[in-house]
Point group: C2
Chain length 232, copies 2
DNA sequence: AGCTTGAATAAGTCATACCTTTGGGTCTAC
DNA sequence: GTAGACCCAAAGGTATGACTTATTCAAGCT
């Protein structure tokens, strides 16, 4: 999944540095300096910078240098950008944005899943709902998180829409992030687990409206909890 | 916006070739061949390939070559990938996916806009609604398209969510695409224009539910028309 | 048959030389 | 003194040759 080799390493330094605001918009980097600072050759620096350019995070210009572009220009849907932002200073803003995106997408995905899911998809969702119930009761947060991620990924995939399906890693990152940063109750709420069961049942039964409604309740609830936590 | 220089040119060949299926998944390219075929140096080839790698469209491996990855792996949200797919063979599938995405996102964006839009945003939306009405009546398809794109972009931006806002180019590409490929009525439908006015009015009046409802009608209608056209 | 080993191959990296664009300073003409 | 043309230096852009490293495949050994 990651970019390999030395350019990957360089990217793993530059990306987070820019995303975190350590290198704010307008900062000018010079390729030669990057070579020296990281002890790599021109080739490596250029490839890393090219990738950042393709993410619209920097703009190299002759006679000037490599300029950091304002946040508004970045490819906010790029998985790497999302990860870097989640790890850095504006984690809150990123979580909020992603929360709204989930509110828009996941209910629609659930409705589509109720129409399009294959038998295997439905079976998997049923099984995951059971796992969620069990791990929640056992207060096994780690397993619960893993199954929660798998559940939402399964719904997105079952929707049959490739673009929805591709949001699974992003949603996974959000769920992981809020657990890591203690933005969640110590123990999964029973009513949230109940809602997941409802989603699974509605999709299995082929009831789009019910699936959409239950999923909407889940993601709206998550967004509200997030807002409540972040504004404090 | 584009990637500059020779790597950009190379990318403009390779990207569409892969997206169109001309180079199907599993195809193995060799860097040396690409150099010869395009008359460029290793440097250029490597940078272009790196970018494709960051889009997850290819995977370079030592002793093997540069392998084209299956469609399912691609970064389907990358603007370049979207454009290449829209230009190529699976334009239909891409339009369908984007249609569903619009159905999910734009109503939510309209609702948010009714809450968060600035006074300037509201003014702009009002003005654009007027323009849409006028150009529709004049059957000036070109102007209508431009204002339609601007209208949807304005709603997305007014939502205050950066991720929604970044979908403006994508939505613009969809609208342009369906006009270009005659997937639209010769003359904008009066009832569609009416709905745009309703969206603008609801956002101006700060009525989220009304804005969301009207926008949903618009995008659902667009998706249904698309489906009807493509299945024929 | 299974394991080891080695050689061939293709990408990865480095160093260097040179090209091209462009920003800014200077010099001139008015 | 200001406006314009002009030139130079600085920075990225490209090309190339030498070398490194990982990986596959097959030959050969046990």
């Amino acid at each position: 999944m990651e970019i390999q080799g030395l350019p990957g390493r360089l990217l793993a330094h530059l990306g987070p540095a820019i995303a975190s605001g350590e290198l704010p918009a307008g900062t000018v980097l010079r390729a030669e300096e990057l070579e020296a600072q990281h002890g790599v050759s021109r080739t490596v620096v250029r490839e890393a910078v090219r990738i950042l350019e393709s993410m619209r995070m920097v703009e190299p210009r002759r006679r000037v240098g490599i300029t950091v572009r304002p946040r508004g220009d970045w490819d906010v849907f790029d998985p790497l950008v999302i990860r870097w932002r989640l790890a850095g200073a504006d984690r809150s803003a990123q979580l909020r944005s992603l929360g709204s995106l989930r509110v828009a997408v996941e209910p629609a995905a659930a409705a589509l899943a109720a129409r399009n899911a294959s038998d295997d998809d439905r079976r998997e969702l049923g099984a995951l709902a059971v796992e969620l119930t069990v791990t929640a009761r056992a207060a096994d947060l780690e397993s619960f998180l893993a199954h929660d991620i798998a559940f939402h990924a399964a719904v997105l995939r079952a929707s049959g829409n490739e673009m929805f399906a591709h949001l699974k890693d992003t949603v996974g990152a959000v769920l992981t992030g809020r657990t890591e940063h203690r933005l969640m109750p110590h123990r999964p709420r029973e009513y949230a687990v109940q809602l997941h069961r409802e989603v699974a049942e509605a999709i299995c039964a082929g009831e789009p409206e019910a699936a959409e409604r239950a999923m909407r309740t889940i993601v709206v609830g998550a967004l509200e909890e997030l807002d409540a936590t972040l504004t404090n």
